[in-house]
């Protein structure tokens, strides 16, 4: 996963800069201190979220984290208890959903079972009073684009999951909506089709210049497609950042653990020098980590190292070095998951197949650069990082 990210990171950076510039001018979608409560339960808590025009933003989080509620508020199916929602400079929280001109792709597609594929796709055009001939042409063109023209007279129940997915997508795009909202649209597809659709969606987003809000609980989906990801936990944004930012520089323990896998160690900051902090772990080992945000000397801190950043070597190298004993090797096909026991701490390393790993019981050195170690403030007030 890390490797794919590195390859994809350069064009992503360019896009990220463009988006920051556009956001500074005027956000296209703006949740302004939005709170949504169901009875005593605060599902969304003082959300502040800005999305630029043409951006692909994923709302990522475990179920019950409020991400779907945010989407439903944007679509107009739920109304905020407090706060305002702006779309292109207009407040929309009291606008009925059928006037919002947003394309919504639902989790189970929500195709109309009593209509054919063509009738389903034509539905938003008919509702907008588009003439019969023009509607027919636009439906034909749209179905051509997703290669479903030959199925136009079928009913949804006669289509496969992937085909239904594409019909739902076409129906949500055919009326050229200002924003496309997707609620876990790929959740019901099998893995291969899901990955294929991810790339297809990303291409569609780029070629059509769509603004997409995409709700998912699948991190790899979010990492693959998004310009930015908002990680949600208990109704609050834990971190809003580019995919690399989320993965490489998690700012809270929740993000570090929810996205991918990580080794976390508790410790105390000893010294700060040249943007490098020296941390004494509670196990007694000292590590050096590149600073992303200012830390106080003497403050408790968490150090996070991704398993694929740990290099196993026969002899101690530069940077951070932890002497370890191999306790288990788990074969994973493309890599080996190696469980390691260090002085007072346990580690997991992802080791590429070409790197030799000793048998269980053998000793080695786990090495990583200070730049590969992220410092995270321990949770006092969850969500304060955003």
């Amino acid at each position: 996963m890390g490797q794919r990210l590195e390859r994809a990171s350069r064009p992503g950076n360019v896009r990220a800069k463009a988006i920051t510039r556009r956001l500074r001018l005027a956000p296209f979608i703006h949740f302004d201190q939005v709170t949504k409560s169901f009875g005593p339960l605060r599902v969304v808590d003082q959300l502040d979220l800005q999305v630029a025009k043409g951006e692909f933003v994923s709302l990522l989080g475990p179920s019950g984290s409020g991400k779907t509620t945010i989407l439903m508020m944007l679509a107009g199916f739920e109304h905020p208890s407090h706060g305002a929602i702006w779309l292109d400079g207009t407040r929309i929280e009291n606008l009925p959903s059928h006037k919002r001109n947003m394309g919504v792709v639902f989790q189970n597609y929500a195709l109309f079972p009593h209509m054919t594929v063509a009738e389903n796709v034509a539905f938003p055009l008919v509702m907008r009073g588009v003439g019969k001939r023009e509607a027919g042409e636009r439906v034909a063109r749209a179905l051509d684009m997703v290669r479903l023209a030959h199925l136009k007279d079928r009913r949804p129940s006669q289509l496969s999951g992937g085909q239904q997915q594409r019909v739902a997508l076409t129906r949500a795009l055919v009326f050229e909506p200002t924003v496309v909202l997707m609620d876990e649209p790929l959740g019901a597809l099998d893995k291969q089709l899901r990955e294929h659709m991810q790339l297809e969606l990303r291409d569609l987003h780029r070629t059509l210049g769509l603004t997409v809000i995409f709700v998912t609980h699948d991190q790899s989906e979010a990492l693959t497609m998004s310009d930015r990801i908002a990680v949600f936990n208990r109704g609050r944004i834990e971190q809003l950042d580019t995919p690399e930012g989320i993965y490489d520089r998690p700012r809270t323990r929740f993000v570090a653990e929810f996205i991918g896998e990580t080794n976390l160690f508790e410790g105390v900051v000893q010294r700060v020098e040249d943007g490098i902090a020296e941390v004494a772990l509670t196990s007694g080992v000292g590590v050096r980590a590149a600073l992303l945000a200012p830390v106080e000397v003497g403050a408790p801190i968490l150090a996070s190292v991704r398993p694929e950043r740990l290099h196993l070597q026969g002899e101690a190298g530069a940077g951070n070095v932890i002497p370890v004993t191999v306790t288990d090797n788990v074969y994973q096909g493309d890599h080996l998951r190696t469980h390691l026991a260090g002085p007072g701490l346990d580690l997991v390393a992802k080791v590429q197949r070409r790197v030799p790993v000793g048998p269980v019981g053998s000793t080695a050195f786990a090495c990583f650069e200070p730049s590969e170690c992220t410092l995270i403030a321990p949770d006092k007030a969850p969500g304060s990082a955003s």
């Binding site: 107009g76 009925p96 959903s97 059928h98 919504v104 639902f106 929500a110 509702m127």
Partner: protein
Amino acid sequence: MSGSPARARVSALLLVAPLFLFLAAFFVWPLVMMITVSVTDGTVRQVMPETASAIGAWDGSGLPPKEVQDALIADLRAPSEQMAFGDAVRRLNSEVSGFRTLLSRTTSAVRDLPPDQTVDLAGIDPRWGEGRYWQALQRAMPNYTDRNLLAAVDLKRDTEGSITADVSANRVIMVRTFTIAALVTALCALIGLPYAMIAAASTGWVRNVLLLAVLLPLWTSLLVRTASWVILLQNEGLINKALIAVGIVDQPLQLIFNRTGVVIAMTHVLLPFMVLPIYSVLLGIPRNLMPAASSLGASRLRAFWHVLLPMALPGVASGSLLVFMVALGYYITPALVGGAEDQMISSVIAFFATGTANWGMAGALGLILLVTTTALYLVYGRLSRSPNMVGA
């Protein structure tokens, strides 16, 4: 290997055997019996077996040959059961009036004569010289007859055997039955569809109360229910008093013992049969279809018209079929809250079955009702197999 599937099949058969036996004994057999009774006519044949076998050869023109006359005399001489003979006479009298006096006179005359003396029938009564009495006798002989079925739809065979109109109210009552059933079905659909939609959209105790309210009539005795309608709808009843108090009318409306009362009471009783099928269809509609329609630009009304209503229609169709079929057979409610002009076909069947013991007519009317209902069901089956359901 081969033993175990066979044994499984035997035990499966044994498990369904009680059901089959029950159906055979309490459904199929009575049904077949009623149908048979409606087309069987053995009353005359039973008391005149010799005549029956002799008259079959007669071509029906002029007067029958001597053997037929001799057979009739032999039959009349033979001692017969009083009741069976009475039935036969009634049956013949319905063919040609005057047969009763003719037969009783002939019988006593024949029985008074010594057995070996030749009898001149035309001498006893000149009517034996007319062909039509013999023709009536011949028509009454076959085991199977269509006279009950024809009478059920106001038809009869005249003396030549061709079908002509008969004077009777069956057709009128049949049309009235279908009219009332259709009216009740339409009202049930008009009330039931919105009701089911509200019930399906609500949650928790509201839904339970709504469903209970519609199910309660089913659990109440038919008589109690109908009597309550009498109390509510009569001239001094709650509804009329309320209407007068509010000032909508000055005179009490005649709401009971007429068509209005019948339709109101029947709609009330049959509403569950409409609400429940629609309700279950609505529950099966995915929750996100209405939000989807809304997000695609449909206002609530258009979303209802284009999405919810077409999807609820199968429920309305099966509910309507159910209500219509049950309504066709209504008997007690029209009898209690209707006037003389509101009696349905069931009351006629009841009249024949319990009033005059004319099982043939009762069976024939029932058969006609059964055939119509079956036809309706087949039409419904054909309609519900519309392209909508392909692949489902």
